[in-house]
């Protein structure tokens, strides 16, 4: 039994403490926006925020995040208009879209309070998120747009 705070809501999840957070979120909390892509922290599809910092949920257990504030793509903004989400749509970033929740969560954490983020910081910061469709060119441009407003 674990007590988690997810998207501002207190949730009781009936699993052992060593259960992988990703599957607890998807299968037990019913939050399907966080995706499974590799299970070993190499693709970033399952990226969430733990106390505002991007982390891959496939490498966390539920007991590790008790007492933290967890944010998933569903809770990133009330209206779906976080600057990163808006930039993503402006530039038509997604193709299949499967990795994009993770990309957006990484980007939102990356640009937090960084209006003058450099191109290299964007590339390095996004390098943990794979996109098999190959949307990187637009991802990088959208991160820059979201960070700098242009």
């Amino acid at each position: 039994m674990a007590q988690l705070t997810i998207n501002g809501e207190s949730r009781t999840i009936d699993v052992p403490g060593d259960t992988t957070l990703l599957w607890a979120l998807r299968d037990l909390a019913g939050l399907k926006g966080t995706k499974y892509g590799c299970g070993v922290g190499l693709c970033g599809a399952c990226t969430i925020h733990v106390d505002g910092v991007a982390q891959v949920s496939c490498m966390l257990t539920v007991s590790q995040v008790e007492g933290t504030e967890i944010t998933t793509i569903e809770g990133l903004s009330d209206d779906g208009n976080h600057p990163v989400q808006v930039a993503w749509r402006e530039l038509n970033v997604p193709q299949c879209g499967f990795c994009q929740a993770g990309q957006i969560m990484t980007a939102a954490s990356l640009i937090e309070d960084k209006p003058d983020i450099s191109d290299q910081e964007i590339l390095d910061g996004m390098s943990g998120n794979l996109c098999r469709c190959g949307c990187y060119q637009r991802i990088v441009a959208a991160v820059r747009t979201a960070a700098t407003g242009s």
């Binding site: 607890a24 939050l31 995706k35 793509i73 990795c99 994009q100 943990g128 469709c133 990088v140």
Partner: protein, 792 residues
């Protein structure tokens, strides 16, 4: 691919013949007793396009032109359009309905899209691969859009009293007369119809009920929009339909469907295809909290089409328990028919075969004489390793089998094929099987093969509950339907002036057909049609050959299929030959393509079963001017010929695939030994351009996938088992090193230059363009894919 494989496996290969398309001319309305609302002759011959034959009509269940199947209009004006092809990132779920909406006059903001279930008798062919969606369906979408517009116009004529009869009488008159009704006195605008005389307008919603009583018109009755009248087609300004949901985490992919009481299954499959299950111990697995049951699936041997590999399934309350349970199984696998498959030995064998004469598929002129009399023979060989598609969403499917019925939710490229295979596996009538198609988290050909959905159906039946079968990334990479491995040997005969007088290309690769039929070791017509027999060079003597190679793992199709190794070999070879002869690489490529012409397959020794991507050749011929044009365009935009600093190079490659022409000029900079690609120029000619925005995104994506396969993608086998497991040993390029700026240059054409697809054709020229650039930067010629991420 599926359709052709089934044809070939059954030995029913029929070459496509041209059909005569009726010369359509508009008849004027003559006025008969049956129709008291005779109208004047139509003011102009407004037929927007001449209908042409596409391969879609020859696909299983063909093309459907009935707008009542695809379109419905609510009284509030909401227009609902069915997307019958699978969305895996190409934008098809947006682009095809957009064509229909534009032609009918619908306001896109009032269009809702629903996804078709797998039902080809109703919707026509739904097999989403082969870069076919736009190519096959743009005409039917336009026709259905124009049909609805016509029906709304007739309804408006009745609404405004221009037709002073009840709509039922109009409907009856349609059937009773050979003559055709024409729209008069009304103008269809955007989502409304205006009375020309009074200026009064009525919305689509208000007309919907009457419009649906109007019989569906024939093509000849229709008035199509002029291309200049399109509001969405050709503009690229429509937001992809699912984009908002994708960015907010609401989009539904395969694993996102939840059913009450659903169990999760993760399966241990044989490491080598067909290896028998000797014994297993599930004690440890059963002790894991959440694990509920263990089930066996029968082991299959090739050829098994899409039948699951078999193995041991762990059934659990949630995914985490199922994965841990599966990993805790102790299994002894026996020796199978392919347990001796070892990549190193097999590649050596293929090389030997490629250097011997192969089975001749195309012979033009007298190649033996050309080589015998050559002043010089120049030959090279190129290889490619197996690849796995590795879509970001690993295979996953949900099945609920109960009371003699099966309901499936799955990210599949071939929903009706899936339904047929599941009906067969469960021995149920097809009417009792439903397949719902979710969004696909990438497909690339992997999700044309529904083994994972059959697994879910079998397990749901056995367990007596809804089951989600979840593949892990390791499962995906170990048990793909792999892109084939190949060795391509090319030789040219040169005369004493260094003119190329003979071309010999022997392709050696296990065939996809081995997945469907007893393996002959030889490739079949779709594989040889992809850049092998159809090489567009103007060389008088040609010998196109195929050497034998048996399959020892499940071979499938991967984005662009055999075009990948063919473009790799041919485009690398031309650059090597240019260097050998001291010629400019681009100039030699243009020179080999030769004069402006259409190739003439029957008179150039093409095989009788030559496959032009399923298209009637005359409609989509091999046009050398288009290939040369994209080559020159990419070269010019990239600044071909400019001096570059040491460690930098430009490489070029061009290829026709899926009847679309693509050329790539790639810039490579070697940075501390690392191959980087700061810029690419991609020129694409896919005929009429329906959605340029999604064409660009497909080219940008192809650049990334092409760079990944050029540098990284290798699945190797040892004792029949794939040696790679996850992104640590099967990496894909990342934000730190990808083609940084891709410029896409789209060649524009009127509708009369038939539209073709772009999902696959961008991929083949990328790898040779990069390798040619690496050579030009370093002097190192790399001939084996993947070439690796660094050069010394």
């Amino acid at each position: 691919m599926l359709h052709y494989l089934e044809q070939a496996a059954a030995g029913k290969v029929a070459p496509r013949k041209a059909i005569v398309v009726r010369n359509v001319s508009r008849r004027t309305f003559l006025g008969t007793a049956a129709a008291g609302f005779a109208v004047a002759a139509f003011p102009k011959d407004a037929l927007g396009f001449a209908k042409y034959e596409v391969g879609g009509s020859q696909m299983p269940h063909g093309l459907v032109y009935d707008p009542t199947v695809f379109v419905s209009i609510d009284s509030d004006g909401t227009v609902t359009i069915v997307a019958h092809r699978s969305e895996m990132g190409t934008g098809v779920r947006t682009s095809l309905p957009m064509v229909l909406a534009d032609e009918m006059g619908a306001d896109w903001d009032r269009v809702k899209i629903i996804q078709a279930e797998g039902d080809e008798p109703k919707y026509g062919n739904q097999d989403t691969d082969g870069s076919r969606s736009m190519r096959h369906h743009i005409q039917s979408m336009r026709q259905m859009g124009a049909s609805v517009r016509f029906m709304l116009a007739i309804a408006a004529m009745q609404h405004f009293g221009i037709i002073d009869q009840p709509i039922e009488a109009v409907a009856e008159a349609f059937g009773a007369s050979d003559d055709q009704f024409e729209v008069q006195g009304v103008t269809v605008g955007v989502h409304e119809v205006t009375n020309d005389a009074t200026g009064e307008a009525v919305g689509f919603g208000e007309l919907a009920e009457i419009a649906m009583l109007v019989p569906v018109p024939e093509f000849e009755q229709l008035n199509f929009k002029d291309e200049s009248e399109f509001r969405y087609v050709g503009k690229g300004e429509i937001e992809p339909y699912d984009q908002h949901d994708i960015t907010t985490g609401k989009a539904i992919y395969g694993a996102d469907v939840d059913l009450p009481g659903m169990k999760v299954a993760v399966i241990a499959r044989p490491p080598a295809v067909g290896a028998p299950l000797v014994s297993y111990d599930a004690t440890a697995a059963r002790s894991i909290a959440g694990v509920e049951d263990i089930a066996e699936l029968p082991i299959t041997v090739m050829p098994a089409k899409f039948a699951p590999l078999g193995g041991v399934a762990v059934i659990a309350a949630h995914t985490d328990a199922a994965i841990r349970g599966r990993d805790a199984l102790e299994i002894e696998w026996g020796e199978g028919p392919h347990s001796n498959y070892n990549t190193e030995e097999f590649t050596a064998e293929m090389r030997e075969t490629a250097n011997a004469p192969g089975k001749v598929l195309r012979k033009e002129g007298d190649p033996e004489a050309a080589f015998a009399e050559a002043a010089k023979v120049f030959g090279r060989e190129y290889s490619q390793a197996h690849m796995a598609h590795a879509p970001m969403e690993p295979p996953v499917a949900i099945a609920d089998v109960k009371d003699g019925k099966a309901e499936i939710w799955a990210p599949v490229q071939s929903p009706f094929g899936t339904r047929q295979d599941i009906a067969a596996a469960l021995e149920l009538p097809i009417e009792d099987v439903t397949v719902h198609v979710t969004l696909l988290g990438g497909g690339f050909g992997r999700k044309s093969k529904c083994d994972f959905a059959i697994e879910a159906a079998l397990l749901s039946r056995d367990v007596g509950a809804p089951v989600r079968v979840q593949w892990t990334r390791e499962d995906d990479i170990h048990h793909s339907f792999f892109h084939t491995t190949s060795v391509e040997r090319i030789e040219v005969a040169l005369d004493d002036q260094d003119a190329v007088t003979g071309w010999r290309h022997n392709s050696v690769a296990p065939s996809i057909l081995s997945t469907f039929a007893e393996d002959s070791g030889h490739q079949f017509f779709i594989e040889s049609g992809m850049g092998h027999v159809d090489v567009p060079f103007e060389i008088p003597n040609m010998s196109i050959e195929n050497g034998k190679a048996m399959a020892h793992t499940r071979i499938g199709w991967y984005r662009a299929v055999s075009n990948v190794p063919r473009a790799w070999a041919i485009q690398s070879f031309v650059a090597e030959l240019a260097d050998e002869l001291g010629r400019d690489q681009k100039d030699l490529l243009i020179e080999l393509i030769g004069s402006d012409r259409e190739l003439d397959p029957p008179n150039q020794g093409f095989p009788d079963d030559y496959w032009n991507y399923g298209e009637v050749y005359q409609e989509y011929p091999i046009t050398t001017a288009r290939l040369k044009n994209v080559t020159e365009l990419a070269a010019e935009k990239a600044g071909w010929g400019a001096d570059l600093p040491a460690g930098s190079g430009l490489g070029i490659a061009a290829h026709r695939a899926f009847v679309t022409y693509v050329a790539v000029a790639a810039r490579v900079d070697i940075v501390d030994g690392l191959i980087t690609v700061p810029e690419m120029h991609i020129a694409v000619d896919c005929g009429f351009v329906a959605n340029p925005e999604r064409i660009r995104s497909q080219m940008e994506g192809a650049a990334v996938m092409g760079m990944t396969l050029a540098l990284n993608s290798a699945i190797t086998f040892q004792n029949g088992a794939a040696q790679q497991s996850n992104f640590y040993d099967y990496d894909i390029v990342r934000a730190t090193n990808f083609p940084k700026v891709v410029h896409t240059h789209i060649v524009e054409h009127p509708f009369s230059v038939h539209a073709a697809g772009v999902g696959e054709p961008g991929v083949p020229p990328i790898a040779p363009a990069i390798a040619n650039a690496v050579f030009n930067a370093t002097g190192q010629r790399l001939r084996d894919l993947p070439i690796g991420t660094t050069v010394s």
